[in-house]
C-alpha cells in the first residue's frame, strides 16, 4: 500500500497503526509530533487504534520552539 507522508510517497508491505508508522519512519520522539491524517489532527490516544489505509495522506507536524532540541527523524 502507498501513503503520502509529509508530501512524499511511502510504500508499505502491510497496513500499520499510526504508532507503528511513527516507528517505521524513525521518529525518535513521537511525543513531540502531532499527526494529521487526511486533514484531521488525531488525538494522541488514536495513535494506537488508528490503522492506515492505502492512499492516506499523513503529516507529521513537529513541535518547534526556538533553538531547542526536540525529536527529529534521521532522514
Amino acid at each position: 500500500m502507498k501513503l503520502t507522508v509529509n508530501g512524499k510517497e511511502v510504500g508499505l508491505d502491510r497496513s500499520l497503526l499510526v504508532r507503528e508508522l511513527l516507528a517505521d519512519r524513525k521518529v525518535k520522539m513521537p511525543e513531540m509530533v502531532s499527526v494529521e491524517l487526511n486533514g484531521r489532527i488525531l488525538r494522541r490516544s488514536e495513535f494506537d487504534t488508528t490503522a492506515l489505509n492505502d492512499g492516506d495522506t499523513v503529516e507529521f507536524l513537529y513541535f518547534m520552539g526556538g533553538g531547542r532540541a526536540t525529536h527529529r527523524t534521521t532522514d
Binding site: 509529509n6 508530501g7 520522539m29 511525543e31 513531540m32 502531532s34 494529521e36 486533514g39 484531521r40 489532527i41 488525538r43 494522541r44 503529516e59 507536524l61 513537529y62 513541535f63 518547534m64 520552539g65 526556538g66 533553538g67 531547542r68 532540541a69 526536540t70 525529536h71 527529529r72
Partner: protein, 271 residues
C-alpha cells in the same frame, strides 16, 4: 496624520507599491505590533518592522544578551553582551527609524501580564523559544482576539502559521498541549543554523505587514514549513480542530494559565 516630506522620501519604495501607497504607509505608522521575544526570530522582525515604519512596536523579553546569542540574534551586537535584550534591541530600532515609538517590557511573558499587554496591539509576533510561552501567546491572543503569527525553528527547519483567533486554526488546534518537560533536551544539544531565524522571522514580519494593510492572503489554516537543507517550502493545510480545548465548541480552557516555566531552566542553557 499626513506624511511629511521626509517620510514620503523614506517610505517611497512602499508608497510606489499599488497595494501600499500613501494611505497604506499612514496605516502602518498608525499601527501597533508586539514582538514577544527579542531573540533569533524577534531580531529580524523588529528590524524590518521598524524600517517599514510600523508606528508603535512593543518588545517583550526578560533576558539579557549572551555571547552565544550573537550567531543569530542580529539585532544585538558584540558590545551589547550583558545588556538587557529589550534595551539593546530598542536602541537599534530607534537608530534605524526615529519615526517608531518602541515600548519595552523587560519581563517574561506570564499568565498574569500577557493579556493586558497584547490588547494594546493590533498584531503579535511569537518569537519565543519555549512551548509554555507559545501556548501563552496563543491563548492570550485568543482571549483578546488579536491576530498573531506563530513560528518555531529547529536546527535547519522552521515553521510558521498566522492565526486570526476564533476564525482560523490556532496553535492548540495543531498541538493540544505542551510536550512533557523530559521530552525536550537542552538547546545546546540541538543547535540552529544562524540564518534560519532570519528567514522565518522575516516571514513573520511579512505577515504582520500584510495583516495591518489588509492585503494578500494570510498564512491562515496553513502551517508553512521550511527546510534550509533542501530549500523546500511546504504548506500543510490545517483545519480548525473540533477537539481544540481553546477554540473548539467544547472548549475547556477559559482563562489564561501558565503551562510551566517560560524561562529555560536547563543549567547553562542559552536558548
Amino acid at each position: 496624520m499626513p506624511l511629511t516630506e521626509q517620510q514620503i522620501e523614506r517610505y517611497s519604495r512602499h508608497i510606489i507599491l499599488q497595494q501600499v501607497g500613501g494611505a497604506g504607509q499612514e496605516k502602518l505608522l498608525a499601527s501597533r505590533v508586539l514582538i514577544v521575544g527579542a531573540g533569533g526570530l524577534g531580531a529580524p522582525a523588529a528590524l524590518y518592522l521598524a524600517a517599514a515604519g510600523v508606528g508603535t512596536i512593543g518588545l517583550l523579553d526578560g533576558d539579557e544578551v549572551d555571547l552565544t546569542n550573537l550567531q543569530r540574534q542580529i539585532i544585538h551586537h558584540t558590545d551589547d553582551v550583558g545588556r538587557r535584550k529589550v534595551d539593546s534591541a530598542a536602541e537599534k530600532m530607534r537608530a534605524i527609524n526615529p519615526d517608531v515609538s518602541v515600548r519595552t517590557y523587560d519581563v517574561w511573558a506570564r499568565a498574569e501580564n500577557l493579556r493586558e499587554i497584547v490588547k494594546e496591539y493590533d498584531f503579535v509576533i511569537d518569537g519565543v523559544d519555549n512551548f509554555p510561552g507559545k501556548f501563552l501567546i496563543n491563548d492570550a491572543c485568543y482571549f483578546e482576539r488579536i491576530p498573531f503569527c506563530h513560528a518555531g525553528i529547529l536546527q535547519f527547519e522552521g515553521q510558521l502559521m498566522t492565526v486570526l483567533p476564533g476564525r482560523t486554526s490556532c496553535y492548540r488546534c495543531l498541538f493540544p498541549s505542551a510536550p512533557p518537560p523530559g521530552a525536550v533536551p537542552s538547546c545546546g544539544q540541538a543547535g540552529v543554523l544562524g540564518v534560519l531565524p532570519g528567514v522565518i522571522g522575516s516571514l513573520q514580519a511579512t505577515e504582520a505587514i500584510k495583516c495591518l494593510l489588509g492585503i494578500g492572503d494570510l498564512l491562515t489554516d496553513t502551517l508553512l514549513t521550511y527546510s534550509a537543507l533542501t530549500m523546500e517550502f511546504r504548506k500543510v493545510r490545517v483545519s480548525r480542530n473540533p477537539d481544540c480545548a481553546l477554540c473548539g465548541p467544547n472548549a475547556t480552557i477559559t482563562t489564561l494559565v501558565d503551562e510551566g516555566d517560560v524561562a529555560c531552566d536547563e543549567k547553562g542553557c542559552r536558548c
